[in-house]
């Protein structure tokens, strides 16, 4: 049974790369264009992991993480966010909001999967 992963990013290419990598590994992937769009998948659907970008229009990643943690059902699911190495402060902000871990951009599929392994089986 494949785990469900929600991928949230405003860049289509990133969404594609991430989805492709995950689907290859046998995961069920759902996508959101931004935080707001992502919320439509968080109304009771089974989601085992969220991977989200931080900078997005409408609702950014920090906001999304907080939203997720406020939902009873998703309170303890792992959340990974995508970041560039320079944003140390952002990293802390996201962790404080309740994120589990992060993936530094740019990344190769192996790195993505390694990060995923840390938080989900």
């Amino acid at each position: 049974m494949g785990k469900n992963i929600l991928v949230v990013d405003d860049s289509e290419s990133i969404r594609e790369v991430v989805s492709f990598t995950l689907e290859n590994e046998g995961y069920e992937v759902k996508v959101g264009n931004d935080g707001k769009d992502a919320l439509k998948h968080l109304n009771g659907d089974p989601i085992d992991l969220v991977i989200t970008d931080l900078h997005m229009p409408e609702m950014d990643g920090i906001e999304l993480i907080k939203e997720i943690r406020n939902k009873e059902q998703y309170q303890r699911i792992p959340i990974l966010f995508l970041t560039t190495e320079s944003q140390a402060s952002k990293k802390q902000e996201a962790k404080d909001a309740g994120a589990t871990g992060w993936i530094v951009k740019p990344f190769v599929p192996a790195k993505l999967l390694a990060a995923l392994k840390k938080v989900m089986r």
Binding site: R69, P78, M120, R121
Partner: protein
């Protein structure tokens, strides 16, 4: 550590072979990025392993080579002949380094220096250095043992972290002993299931470094107390005493603390402890560990041992079957039948395990052809066919040298220089085709070259000169070619330093005979030579036909048997020319009782086993054919090693011994005996 070292050596040899193979292929397709990747990967593994097992020179040297190919990989450097020559030379050097280790003696040291310099020079002369140095930091370090203390904050779960996954990852880095410390867990009534009360101590033996271990905890660094300290060099967990002491101590009182664990470390293993943790990049060691186990490596001695046991089992099973048959106990018979079936399957399976594809030898051949043709200024291409054909590993081992010798002969004596070839109207590049295929219960390996071939007349003359044959003797073409395999016989008039080293084809033939192999040669002057090596599939067990002659039983290899006929006694005894007509064909036969100097049988009927002998069919007359039999071949021992009619003995179910005939040798012998007798008789007249 020695145990690991052997494994490393095995692996390193494989890597070097793979490297060589990839390089030779790269020579033909310099643009193939997959091949460059392969070259790079092999070098990388060599480098990593080398440093780990004390082959520092090897590791260093490979490191520079790797850098060169890293450039190629990035596209800032090109693969050209110069680079390939240098790399191949380096590969040879790597082989030596692997043998000699770090202690380099005079010659080797100079060579090492020269080659290193050349490689470095190449690196400098190449394109501009690229900005990103992709220098893997994790591998290449020695195996070390660490103590890790991991005490997460109580609210760890709130971020969706599962600490067990992190521990799993940690364990994945090497060999680990994980000690959860559970004292912090409160009584059930007071416990908040959303909080983490446990902390962990881990002793980890790994080749990864500090930063790789810290990387495991990278997401929780600010939510946990994490300590990583080095305990010792090497793998402490493989030390029985330490491991036991650690387990005992943990079971007695949890939460040992670094000092208590350190106290358990055997004195000589204590290394410098405590280093400042630093962040590093994601380790790439992980991917390696996640690959499934598709094949395992087994000591070849173990396989030999298994084969022996299977042989014994086959023998014992034969006894059981015989006993069951006589017991008239249906149930026992049924069981015996099952055991027989299983034994057969086990036998086939065990054989299969010991089989190795011919492919494994090819890289060496490719290299030989390349180097030799270069040094002789000839253009030669080696083509292979059917290299997936499998043979017993012992056979492959023995086979490599004779085949190398045959190839050497092909290039040295067979293939002409480009000029000669042009004049003869052939393409400049000579071709050698190595073809392996199954033929009945044997495997044939053919080496065919399109060179100048061998002139039978020339051999004949030489044989006469050397008094091997008399000038008037009549020999068939095949018999003439067989002369090549006599000791001291060389076909080429000029002795070169390549194949004219005194090791002739006779040695090839003898080596092959050791594994019950045969070699034949056929040649057409001007168009080429074909050498065919015929080999048995396996050495230890054969399917045979059990026959009886007088009171003795013999086994005739089933692979040789063509057909079995019944015959009247009168038809086969005291006949004029020992010919009998079977199925409308006249077949020469031998009455084995007579050949074995036994009295003629008084039974009215006899059976004739017709076997294949070269191109002919020959009948062997026996008393009765008992049936098919799996014979476990046992050597007859030193005393009988100079006879070749009997290839071995086998123990039958009732404990008696049956001799296994080598029909080819036997018929050869009988016919030459008969020839001599006729000669003697005609001289009397």
């Amino acid at each position: 550590m020695d145990k690991f070292k052997n494994k490393f050596l095995e692996e390193a040899n494989e890597n070097i072979a793979g490297l060589e193979d990839a390089l030779l292929k790269l020579e033909k397709a310099p643009q193939d990025s997959d091949l460059v990747e392969k070259v790079f990967r092999h070098m990388h593994s060599l480098k990593g392993g080398g440093a780990m097992f004390g082959f520092n020179q090897l590791s260093d040297f490979t490191h520079h080579l790797e850098n060169v190919y890293d450039r190629v990989r990035e596209g800032t450097m090109e693969v050209n002949q110069g680079l390939l020559d240098l790399t191949l030379e380096s590969v040879d050097h790597l082989k030596n380094l692997l043998q000699q280790g770090d202690e380099l003696s005079g010659d080797m040291a100079t060579r090492h220096k020269n080659l290193s310099l050349q490689v470095k020079k190449y690196l400098e002369s190449g394109a501009t250095p690229s900005g990103s140095q992709s220098q893997p930091s994790s591998s290449g370090s020695q195996e070390q043992t660490y103590y890790i203390y991991f005490d997460p904050d109580e609210d760890l779960f709130d971020n969706g972290t599962n600490p067990l996954f992190l521990l799993d990852e940690l364990v994945g880095l090497g060999q680990a002993f994980v000690m959860p410390c559970l004292q912090g867990i409160p009584l059930l009534a007071e416990m908040d299931p959303r909080k983490c009360y446990t902390h962990w101590e881990v002793v980890l033996a790994t080749t990864e470094d500090h930063s790789a271990i810290h990387d495991v905890f990278i997401f929780v660094e600010d939510q946990a107390r994490i300590e990583v300290q080095k305990l010792a060099d090497g793998n402490l967990l493989s030390n029985e005493t330490f491991r036991k002491a650690l387990e005992e101590k943990y079971h007695k009182d949890q939460d040992l603390g670094i000092d208590a664990v350190k106290g358990l470390v055997p004195a000589k293993d204590t290394g410098t402890a405590a280093q400042s943790p630093k962040k590093g990049k994601q380790s790439n060691g992980q991917a390696r560990k996640d690959e499934g186990i598709a094949s395992i490596r087994v000591d070849s001695e173990k396989i030999d041992h298994m084969m022996n046991l299977v042989s014994e089992l086959v023998t014992t099973q034969a006894r059981l079957s015989l006993h069951a048959e006589h017991s008239e106990n249906n149930e026992l018979e049924e069981i015996a039948e099952n055991v027989q079936k299983l034994t057969r399957q086990l036998r086939d399976n065990a054989f299969d395990i010991a089989l190795v594809p011919v492919e494994t030898m090819i890289t060496r051949f490719n290299r030989l052809v390349r180097d030799l043709s270069n040094s002789l200024d000839k253009k030669v291409q080696l083509q292979t066919e059917g290299t997936e054909t499998e043979l017993d590993k012992n056979i492959i081992e023995t086979l490599t040298d004779p085949l190398l010798h045959i190839l050497r002969n092909c290039i040295d004596h067979g293939i002409e220089t480009p000029e000669e070839r042009r004049q003869a109207g052939k393409p400049e590049e000579g071709k050698i085709l190595l073809k392996a295929f199954y033929s009945g219960a044997s495997v044939h390996i053919q080496v065919h070259d399109d060179g100048k071939g061998i002139d039978p007349e020339k051999i004949r003359q030489q044989a006469v000169e050397k008094n091997v044959i008399s000038p008037e003797s009549q020999l068939s073409k095949k018999e003439i070619f067989d002369l090549i395999f006599l000791p001291g016989f060389s076909t080429s008039s000029n002795v070169t330093d390549v194949s004219g080293r005194g090791v002739g084809m006779d040695v090839v033939k003898r080596n092959l005979a050791d594994i019950r192999g045969e070699v034949e040669i056929d040649s057409e002057p001007g168009t080429g030579t074909t050498l065919t090596v015929k080999l048995p599939l396996t050495l230890s067990i054969i399917d045979g036909l059990l026959v009886q002659i007088a009171d003795n039983k013999y086994v005739i290899p089933l692979s040789a048997v063509d057909k079995i006929y019944a015959a009247n006694h009168s038809d086969v005894v005291d006949t004029f020319n020992n010919l009998i007509v079977l199925d409308g064909e006249r077949i020469p036969f031998f009455y084995l009782r007579k050949e074995f100097n036994m009295p003629a049988s008084d039974s009215n009927t006899q059976e004739i086993v017709v076997v294949q002998y070269n191109e002919n069919r020959i009948g062997l007359v026996v008393d009765t054919v008992i049936g098919e039999y799996q014979a476990v071949l046992k050597s007859l021992g030193k005393m009988y090693k100079y006879q070749d009619m009997i290839s071995g003995a086998t123990i039958l179910g009732d404990g008696t011994v049956a001799l296994v005939m080598d029909t080819n040798k036997m018929i050869e012998r009988f016919s030459s005996d008969r020839q001599r007798m006729t000669n003697v008789e005609s001289q009397k007249k």
